[in-house]
């Protein structure tokens, strides 16, 4: 494949722009784990080789395959720029968003492996059952709880208090963190990093009054104490959230009861 690329580059001289842009293309192979229970009980690997600009996203490569080679290839996607959280998948063994991963950054000289995220039931190809993930999220009371009369204007919050939980407000619920966690792989009952991140977002919000309740939920046997601090979640987060740090802060709050 490397040779083919070089030949292509060599043959493209300073000619018209169409040829010039063609010379940007490289040949890559995507090795995709396919599964369709309507067809077969087991999953299998399938290779697709295509020409693509290395500055394109893995999502663009998947689209090229779906649109031009095999319409049955199935994956979720929507915004295509890392905001909606639809297309978390395991690319070269690491959880990433397909729309935020450029081909050139993941060693396109070797086949690029693409698999569904782990720990959630695969429904078809790269589509997994998200329900257990969202259930864990819903279980941590992911909403502001306040007592007493509402103020007529906004609640006041200092910039420092607002900053305290800024990092965990970035979560897009893509499940890249939770499905990278070895504890979650072994035991789907564990809340998982994303649910804890979203609990953190409210526990450390100065306006919220249900921190104790959320801490009790996370004090459960399937709660924060299951975390083994492997940092997979932090590495996986496409939003750059310091997930492990957030989990540690929740653990500390459980011990000190200060937050």
């Amino acid at each position: 494949m490397g040779t083919a690329t070089l030949e292509k580059n060599d043959s493209a001289g300073p000619v018209d722009s169409a040829e010039n842009s063609a010379s940007h293309l490289i040949t890559v192979t995507l090795r995709i784990r396919r599964f369709n229970p309507e067809v077969a009980e087991e999953s299998n690997w399938q290779d697709f080789t295509l020409q693509i600009d290395p500055k394109e996203r893995v999502l663009d490569a998947l689209h090229q395959i779906k649109w031009e080679m095999d319409g049955t290839l199935t994956f979720r996607r929507s915004c295509a720029h890392g905001i909606c959280g639809s297309d978390a998948m395991r690319i070269n063994g690491r959880n990433r968003l397909a729309c935020k991963t450029l081909i050139k950054d993941i060693g396109p000289d070797k086949p690029i492996t693409v698999e569904p995220i782990k720990g959630l039931t695969v429904l078809k190809d790269l589509v997994v059952d998200m329900e257990p993930f969202f259930q864990a999220y819903r279980d941590v009371m992911p909403f502001l709880v306040t007592n007493g009369n509402e103020p007529t204007r906004e609640r006041l919050q200092s910039a420092e208090d607002r900053e305290r939980f800024d990092d965990t407000t970035k979560c897009i619920l893509c499940a890249a963190c939770t499905s990278s966690c070895p504890v979650f792989w072994n035991d789907g009952q564990y809340f998982g990093p994303a649910a804890i991140v979203n609990a953190h977002r409210f526990i450390f919000d100065s306006r919220d009054e249900a921190g104790e309740q959320r801490l009790e939920i996370l004090n459960d046997r399937d709660g924060v104490w299951r975390c083994r601090t492997t940092f997979n979640c932090t590495d996986a987060c496409p939003r750059g959230i310091e997930v492990t740090k957030a989990i540690q802060e929740v653990k500390r709050a459980l011990i000190t009861r200060r937050f």
Binding site: E68, G71, I172
Partner: protein
């Protein structure tokens, strides 16, 4: 086929749908149907803020906001609706804060505000700080906050249910809402949702353009379903091109970047907006800035080898300010362009962004079947709807506002209606249309491919129906879309399965885009004037005598089954603002 019965059904779970659901669930048994998961909706991609005259950082009031909205919309705005939007903006923002939205704060702990395009102090004197924001992910925060509150209220969601048809049935000579038909993606099963009230909140249709900030899934499903059932679409020729999309990709870079002090520059480094809008400069309304960018490019002052873009320059802003206020968009520049915005200008071009037009509603969110008559039980809110608060051009930060104000109104109105109304009997054979559509596509063996037709559609729309339009380009578009619609009848999909058949889904979406593209081009061809986002080079001036009116497009089916589009017009509601020449 499964049949479900709910008082109120909401179609779409973005900002408008979830804001409606929070109200509706408190008052009636409600189901929310979305073809995605709620948090995947494109509200989450909105960045810059939500306008409200809170006056937290400087003098401001809702009357100034009303004026700016009407002027921004080039006087095609219904003024009574704009007044409601601006007045209720204040409570809308405060409601979101009380629901938990983490707005950026002032040193006094109040909601912070920043400048945005077209928002001014005292009727155009100078830019005003009116946009309430949470860094450059305000839409994300609104979407998350609304979803959180839906969880809190126990809103019932049907995720990955794709609504393909609206059911209406005649009762005593009046067409009333009976429900919707949905296709369950996971199983391929068809579901009927019988409902007293239906709220469409299914978002925009920008995917008929190639360079667009819109998600792949924004295919006008609600507009197309209503249109097929004989309901009109209003002002579809008005589409907003956001000035700053990432070059070639179209990914949105918020106007907040210019609100924070960012400057647009041509290849000579000139701040060209000074020529086009001496007062508001880079913060003129979006239609004005997008035309200015293309004028620079056409006159040879574009940047790069092909001179096909301009620069958004943030290099003079302190890195701390970029990190605190614009972290996402600076990261987009790094990720997708390999550019460091601290030190290098970012290549941008206008990107198809927002449909001002849509399903016509009154200020209660009731859908209209003609210029004035509501369809009992049918509501719409958000980008799918046309109230019209945006007229010919929407102001930045007014869409996050629109979804909250009119999502709330539609949710309350729908639930109050369903509290007293009776269920309307389902029409005979309610799933016939959807079943035929799905089966025909799945079984089709034609030689046309979805990707080819979609590509051709997007290319003709970009070429002919973009920032600059003429009779010739629009005729070409109408002609080509007509050809594509014929070719579409001969498509086939490769995936013949039932489970998560996204191949089939894309074909259904393309059908919707083709219908709506045709309405857009036909409406644009008939509007022989320039106003807001609709610019006709052959009619460069606004013509209030002939065109101070909304376009209403109807689908007509002849006795022989031939389809055509009939255009009618609706007067603009004017209250206290007389149309003036628009200058920024």
């Amino acid at each position: 086929m499964q049949i479900h019965k709910y008082d109120t059904v909401i179609v779409g779970a973005g900002g408008a749908g979830m804001r409606a659901a929070i109200e509706s669930t408190k008052r009636s048994r409600t189901a929310v149907l979305t073809k995605l998961y709620p948090t995947r909706s494109h509200t989450g991609a909105a960045q810059g803020g939500m306008a409200a005259a809170l006056a937290n950082v400087e003098e401001d009031n809702w009357e100034w906001h009303t004026f700016d909205t009407i002027k921004g919309g080039d006087y095609l705005v219904d003024q009574d609706a704009a007044e409601i939007l601006a007045k209720e903006a204040i409570d809308s923002v405060l409601d979101l804060e009380k629901m938990g939205l983490p707005f950026n704060r002032t040193p006094q702990g109040r909601i912070d505000q920043r400048r945005f395009g077209g928002h001014s102090r005292n009727h155009g004197e100078a830019p005003v700080r009116r946009s309430c924001y949470a860094a450059d992910r305000t839409g994300h925060m609104i979407l998350q906050t609304l979803y959180q509150n839906c969880v809190k209220e126990g809103v019932e969601f049907f995720n990955e249910f794709y609504v393909l048809d609206l059911l209406l049935n005649e009762v005593d000579g009046v067409k009333k809402t009976a429900g919707v038909v949905a296709y369950e993606l996971a199983t391929g099963e068809i579901h009927v949702f019988q409902a007293k009230a239906v709220v469409f909140a299914s978002g925009g249709n920008g995917k008929f353009f190639k360079v667009t900030s819109n998600a792949h899934t924004l295919t006008g499903d609600g507009q197309a379903a209503a249109f097929r059932r004989g309901l009109p679409l209003e002002d579809m020729e008005f589409f907003q091109f956001h000035p700053t999309g990432i070059w070639k990709m179209g990914i949105l870079l918020t106007e907040g970047a210019r609100g924070e002090g960012g400057i647009l520059r041509n290849k000579d480094g000139e701040r060209f907006m000074e020529k086009y809008a001496p007062v508001m400069k880079d913060l003129a309304s979006r239609d004005v800035v997008s035309r200015a960018i293309y004028t620079e490019i056409r006159e040879g002052r574009g940047c790069g080898a092909d001179k096909d873009h301009v620069y958004l320059d943030l290099t003079h802003l302190p890195p701390e300010q970029l990190d605190a206020k614009l972290p996402d968009i600076t990261e987009f520049a790094r990720t997708y362009l390999g550019i460091e915005p601290y030190t290098d200008p970012v290549p941008i071009q206008p990107t198809a962004h927002y449909a001002m037009g849509g399903i016509p509603t009154n200020v209660e969110g009731e859908v209209l079947s003609d210029n004035t008559t509501p369809v009992p039980g049918l509501y719409a809110a958000g980008e799918v709807a046309c109230v019209s608060v945006h007229g010919a051009n929407r102001l930045g930060t007014n869409s996050l506002l629109d979804i909250n104000v009119f999502g709330r109104r539609a949710g309350i109105a729908a639930a109050e209606y369903s509290a007293t109304a009776d269920f309307v009997e389902l029409p005979e054979n309610p799933t016939k249309f959807v079943e035929d559509e799905v089966e025909n596509l799945r079984d089709a063996t034609g030689n046309e491919r979805v990707v080819e037709i979609r590509k051709a559609l997007q290319e003709t729309m970009d070429k002919n129906v973009m920032v600059f339009r003429t009779e010739q380009t629009l005729k070409e578009a109408v002609e080509e879309i007509g050809q594509l619609r014929k070719r579409f009848r001969n498509i086939s999909v490769q995936d013949k399965g039932k489970r998560f058949n996204t191949d089939l889904l894309e074909a259904l979406e393309l059908g919707n885009l083709l219908d709506l593209a045709e309405v857009t081009a036909v409406s644009a061809l008939a509007r022989k004037e320039s106003r807001g986002g609709h610019y006709r080079e052959d009619f460069p001036n606004r013509d209030d005598v002939n065109f101070m009116r909304h376009t209403m497009a109807y689908r007509e089916v002849g006795d022989d089954g031939t389809e055509s589009i009939r255009l009618d017009y609706k007067p603009v509601v004017q209250t206290r603002y007389q149309p003036m020449e628009r200058k920024y």
